[in-house]
Amino acid sequence: MSNTIKCPGCDKELSVKELRDNLGICPSCGKYFKIPWEYRMNLIVDENSYQEFGGEMQSCNILGIPGYDEKLADNKLKTNQNDAVSTGLCTIDGQKAILCSMNFTFMGGSMGSIVAEKLTAAMIQGALEDLPVIICTASGGARMQEGIFSLMQMAKTSAAAALMEEVSVPLFIVLTGPTTGGVTASFAMLGDVILAEPQALIGFAGPRVIQGTIGQELPPNFQTSEFQLDHGFVDAIVERKDLHKTLSFLIKTHKRVEA
């Protein structure tokens, strides 16, 4: 197995260690690579403060779609996780919060019933206990293997965001690449503050679908974090190294000050 990766941004051969030491960013051209969710989680939370909950929940093949059971089994083995999101309690500069990290490696981070229920439970716990909720997204959208059930999970997660809004508990979103489809069209766009990592793919319809519909070239930068910032859908683009301090600041500034 090769220990080097060719950077798609500048063609430079990078060692895995070099890339890891630089937070998954090419040291020569600044290209952002996808990183494992645990890696990002560790960048965000205070050391050893993450306590996962809901990790035992497992998806089932509710519609009996051929191949789904095998796919789930393979992805569990591959990721050592039961599904495509991890939810847990943490502290950030000593401030308590709930952190949800989607895992693109598990079936493209797709949202089925379990992913949505875990996110919903996390948001509802946040609403009840007055804890800010942070969700790092990474998802191709709804999980096709769960058919209509996966569509309804957009409703479920959005309803949870609505409940947080009703009781004025903050929801912070960190968009990472890629975030598309049913995740973009639900909780991912419902944060009180929406941050994005640089260069992430963020959009609703896939670029190929759009190209197929309109039959013309897509503009450069289309559906990137930078595009979303330009069009007003992202509050700020935040470098990985700054995620911890930015989220810490957001938690501090969203506390209600007693009169």
Binding site: M57, S59, I62, L63, I65, P66, G112, S113, I114, A116, E117, T120, A121, I124, A127, L128, A142, M144, Q145, E146, G147, I148, F149, S150, L151, M152, M154, A155, K156, S158, A159, A161, A162, L163, E165, E166, V167, S168, G181, G182, T184, A185, S186, F187, A188, M189, L190, G203, F204, A205, V209, I210, T213, I214, P219, F222, Q223, H231, G232, F233
Partner: protein, 305 residues
Amino acid sequence: MSETYEEIKERLSLIDKVTPPRSAWSCVQMARNIKRPGTMDYINLIFDDFMELHGDRSFADDPAMIGGLAMFGDRPVTIIGTKKGSNLKENLDCNYGMSKPEGYRKALRLAKQAEKFHRPVISFIDTPGAYPGIGSEERGVGEAIAFNLKKLATLKVPTLSFITGEGGSGGALGIGITDKIYLLENAVYSVITPEGFASILLHDPSKAEEAANIMKMTSHDLLELKIINGIIPEVEEGAHTNPEFTAEAIKQTIEKDLNTLCAKDPMSLVRYRLRKIRSIGASPDQHEWWQPLLSLMQKAEKVKN
């Protein structure tokens, strides 16, 4: 001549275990039939009068999403619905029923207006999905749909939706989170088209017919899965051969539901809706999870007032 309303009701009540009258694939074709009655047809047949309200107050008026005010008997209601158009010119104007962000934002504006004036919201859905284009993305179609889902989940008035043809994914859901959801007998509702499902999961786009079966997208499938509340009957040959019949069935459904739902206080409507939404798919073990939240919501409401 076709069956009477009573005969169809009888037939539908027997449907429980018998084979559905049409295959999933033939429902897909029926749902896409260009002659199928659309939102405007049902509005004209069901409501005494209708005044269309235009625009999202921000960017444009999307002809693919219509909305406005009407009387249902003595009751004022707000109507929102997708529009495919009934001739080629209208089809093109309406992008074949594919709404852009401004369409979803118009629907949201009208839903909020309905809440402010305590009017029920009734939506009619027939869309292949939201419009996938450069402008749609530039103006945040994902954000627009997301905000509708969030607002509709806790809207403090009764809401009903009728999927009359194609219920195409997020584009349909964007105006379809309601207290009660009905499918016309030959309508379909799914997260992706059978063609898309076949090409992604069966690795063969020509297997759309097989995909339609697997996906559970027909009215009978969705009723069994408890995604929808009921089926609106059509005559044997399909709604386009007798729109009056289907319109009458929708009318009776609205009448019955509004009588029940309008009698409920807003918080119990919201509680019912939230419970229902959360129960789809994996649901929590605790039975009364919503109770402490509703007390918090009520407290927050008092602070605001």
